[in-house]
Every structure is written in structure tokens, then in C-alpha cells.
């Protein structure tokens, strides 16, 4: 997204009508763009007005007791010096961001967003002629999962029986000659384990047994032991 286009996101951002990746890039832009800061702030009253068209509904009394019980004993932590913008809710932690990315990927899948990665494989003549990647993709229990990266897509095909997964990509944003996309399987606690560097659009067999989700991050060419940048996409493999 170039700089002219990103200003146009101010309205959608204020309404929450951006995906996680757009939100991250807009918030980066917002730090340095006075015009957008002003525009976003100018919508505050309009948003309250919009919210006020939702009819007030008293929650059940039990909810209040649950909340009071769940309140931590200690006082809230004081705001750090030079704190984040006060009129926006707290920034997401990596963990919650990860959950959102999972959610976004699932929504995209359910909503049929970004569908269009063709599956033009043909039944090969013999199993022996199959590459490992093809074996996964043709496994009777193979399941497909999609994610989006900017205007591009990733498609992961995983087979529990083969204990393996493949990745196919389409129109991933270019990363430059000294960088590469690296795939990671995340375990249930979110700990990443390298699943290999992407060589091309694939399909490519990923390294290792698939975890509950897969992330892609941009790394120096040659790859990293652990992600050094925020994942650009996270695909739930469940």
C-alpha cells in the first residue's frame, strides 16, 4: 500500500473496518501523519452517535458479580511514561494478535474470501511417482487452510495420516533479495518451530510434523532460528 492510499483508510480504521494487517500498517502511518490523526479524532462523536443507535440492554445481574470476582486484587498498573494514545484501546499483545490472525484466516475461509486458488492436480498414474508434496495433497484425509497476506494468499494442505503439510502461495508481497519468507509451525502454546524457507510459490513440503497453526514471517535470507519479525499471516490448521 503506498502512502497516498493509506490516508484513505482513516474512515475504515475509525470504524474498525480494517483487517489486522491493514490496522497494523495504518497505525504505523498514524504515528507520523498529523492529517490522519486529526481525521481519526474528528470521528469520535460520530462513532458515539453510531454506537448510541444500539439499544441499551442491561446485562443479567450475575454478570456484575462475575466481573467483580474476576477483578484482580491489585490496583491497575499505572500508565507508562510517554504512553500510547489514550483514546484508543490498549495495543494488542503478540498473543492476542496471533489469535486475531487465526480468526481472520478462519473468517476469510468461511466467508469464501480469497478463494480462487485452483487445484488443478491430476490423478497421477502410480503412487511411486508422487513427490512427498503430492502425497500430502492427495492424501484421503488432506485438508486445506487458507490465509491472506496483503493481496496475496497462502494455502496450506495438511494430512494427519502423512504427518506432513505443504504450502502453496500466490502473489505474496515481494521481500527483496536479502530477505525470505520463513514458515513456522506453532505449538498449542504458540511456540514457533521452523517449517522451512519458502523457495517459490510451491507447492512445497513443509519441514516437520504440522502443529496447530502455521505462521509466515519475513527473515534474512538463510532464515532464522526463531521469528525475528512479526508474522505476516497465521493460519490455523485445525
Amino acid at each position: 500500500m503506498n502512502d497516498d492510499e493509506i490516508h484513505e483508510l482513516a474512515g475504515a480504521y475509525a470504524l474498525g473496518a480494517v483487517d489486522d494487517i491493514e490496522r497494523a500498517s495504518f497505525e504505523r502511518h498514524l504515528k507520523t501523519c498529523a492529517a490522519c490523526q486529526e481525521e481519526v479524532a474528528s470521528y469520535d462523536d460520530a462513532l458515539v452517535a453510531l454506537a448510541s443507535t444500539a439499544r441499551p440492554v442491561a446485562p443479567p445481574p450475575a454478570l456484575k458479580s462475575r466481573i467483580m470476582d474476576a477483578l484482580p486484587e491489585q490496583a491497575p498498573a499505572p500508565a507508562p511514561a510517554g504512553a500510547r494514545p489514550a483514546h484508543r484501546p490498549e495495543r494488542r499483545t503478540f498473543a492476542s494478535r496471533t489469535r486475531l490472525l487465526v480468526a481472520a484466516a478462519v473468517v476469510a475461509l468461511l466467508a469464501g474470501v480469497g478463494v480462487g486458488i485452483a487445484q488443478p492436480w491430476q490423478q497421477p498414474t502410480s503412487v511411486a511417482s508422487l513427490s512427498p508434496a503430492e502425497r500430502v495433497r492427495l492424501a484421503p484425509d488432506a485438508k486445506e487452510y487458507q490465509g491472506r497476506v496483503g493481496d496475496g494468499f497462502v494455502l496450506v494442505t495438511a494430512s494427519a495420516a502423512e504427518r506432513a503439510a505443504t504450502i502453496t502461495t500466490d502473489r505474496l508481497p515481494p521481500v527483496g533479495s536479502d530477505r525470505t519468507y520463513q514458515a513456522w509451525f506453532l505449538d498449542a502454546s504458540g511456540t514457533p518451530r521452523s517449517a522451512g524457507l519458502l523457495r517459490d510459490d510451491g507447492p512445497q513440503l513443509l519441514t516437520g510434523v504440522p502443529g496447530p497453526s502455521l505462521a509466515l514471517s519475513v527473515e534474512p535470507s538463510g532464515g532464522s532460528k526463531a521469528p525475528t519479525t512479526k508474522p505476516v499471516v497465521l493460519v490455523a490448521l485445525t
Binding site: E8, G11, V48, A49, S52, K64, P72, L100
Partner: protein
């Protein structure tokens, strides 16, 4: 459905919210760990917060969970609220909206959101505001401002705000170019802003 049993907020809450000082003062007390102030803040704002969350989620059980998350986040982040930077009530609603949209985009809610949107959309553009008692802005004024939007703009703004849709999803759902979806959202929001501000 519990929507039918909705009580309006108390006159007291309305007054406080209208001036902004009530909620803002309570938030300041909450920031220093005042549990009694938190309880009052809850009493005064929970119906509005919950109403918004429920409108987005259209699922009472999930809405309760999200309303709980919202208030726990308010407790944690109250010290970061700065009155100079916006209304306290707006701040609460922003947290509530963000959390509700996060939830609606998660897989469980995703299955029902098309249905939800259909249901909301079929109620017609004005039904959504007709019964509302607003705390902060006069209902007439909000209705008047919303009426300044074209049908297309209002549809896009409501799909975004209450449907939890992104501009990309809105373009796809309505079968319109992305640029058109973006400008409907932005122009609609601008008009709403200008007419809310202008008629105050």
C-alpha cells in the same frame, strides 16, 4: 431474545454521560484502584456497553463474555485514559466495539454473522434507531444526521460498524469495487460527523 427487555439507562447515567464528567471522574478513581468507583462505573455504563456488544454479536451468551472482557480491560487500562484526548464514554465504547468486532471475526461467530446482518438489514434503515434512548446525543439529532447519508453510505457504515466487516468484505458482499466501498464508508462517516457536529 433479551433485546425486548432492555431498560433505558437511568436519568442519572444519562446526565453524567452527557456531561462526560461523571464517567471521566469515575475512570480516574478506577485508575487508582477504587473498586467502589468501578462498581458505579459499571452500573452507569453497562447497559450501553452491553447493548452495543449485543448489537454486534447478536448472541446473548457471547455478548456477556465480551462485556466481561470489556470491563476487565477497562479496569486494567483506566490509567491510560487521558480526559484531554477524548470523552471517557467514547473511550469505553471504543473498547467495547473493538472487542465485539474481534469476537465476531472469530470462527464461532463467523458462522452466524451473515444471518445476523441479514436480520439487521431487513429491519430497514430507521428501525435500528427508532427505539433508542441515547445517553449522549439526542435521538432525534442522531436520526437526523443518519438521514443525511445516502442509503448506500448508511448501508456501508452499518455493515462496517455493526456487522464487523472490513472494507474488503463489504466490497465483496455488495459486489462493488473496493474503491467504491472505501469511499462509501469514508463519505458516510464524514457526513455523519459533519451533521452531528453542525447541529449541536
Amino acid at each position: 431474545m433479551m433485546v425486548g427487555m432492555a431498560p433505558a439507562s437511568s436519568p442519572r447515567a444519562r446526565e453524567d454521560a452527557a456531561s462526560g464528567s461523571g464517567v471521566s471522574g469515575l475512570l480516574t478513581a478506577v485508575a487508582s484502584g477504587d473498586r467502589a468507583a468501578f462498581e458505579r462505573l459499571y452500573d452507569e455504563t453497562a447497559p450501553r456497553v452491553h447493548g452495543l456488544v449485543l448489537r454486534v454479536l447478536a448472541d446473548p451468551a457471547q455478548a456477556e463474555e465480551v462485556t466481561q472482557e470489556v470491563f476487565l480491560e477497562i479496569w486494567r487500562t483506566a490509567p491510560r485514559f487521558e480526559a484531554a484526548r477524548g470523552s471517557a464514554f467514547g473511550w469505553l465504547l471504543t473498547i467495547a466495539h473493538r472487542r465485539a468486532v474481534d469476537r465476531v471475526r472469530s470462527s464461532a461467530a463467523a458462522r452466524t454473522r451473515d444471518v445476523t446482518y441479514e436480520r439487521q438489514a431487513s429491519a430497514g434503515p430507521y428501525d435500528s434507531t427508532a427505539e433508542t434512548v441515547t445517553a449522549l446525543l439526542d435521538a432525534e439529532q442522531v436520526r437526523g444526521a443518519l438521514a443525511r447519508l445516502t442509503d448506500h453510505q448508511r448501508e456501508a457504515v452499518e455493515m462496517a460498524y455493526f456487522g464487523g466487516r472490513t472494507h474488503t468484505e463489504i466490497a465483496e458482499t455488495l459486489g462493488i469495487p473496493l474503491g467504491t466501498a472505501k469511499s462509501r464508508i469514508r463519505d458516510g462517516l464524514r457526513r455523519l460527523r459533519d451533521h452531528i457536529g453542525g447541529e449541536r
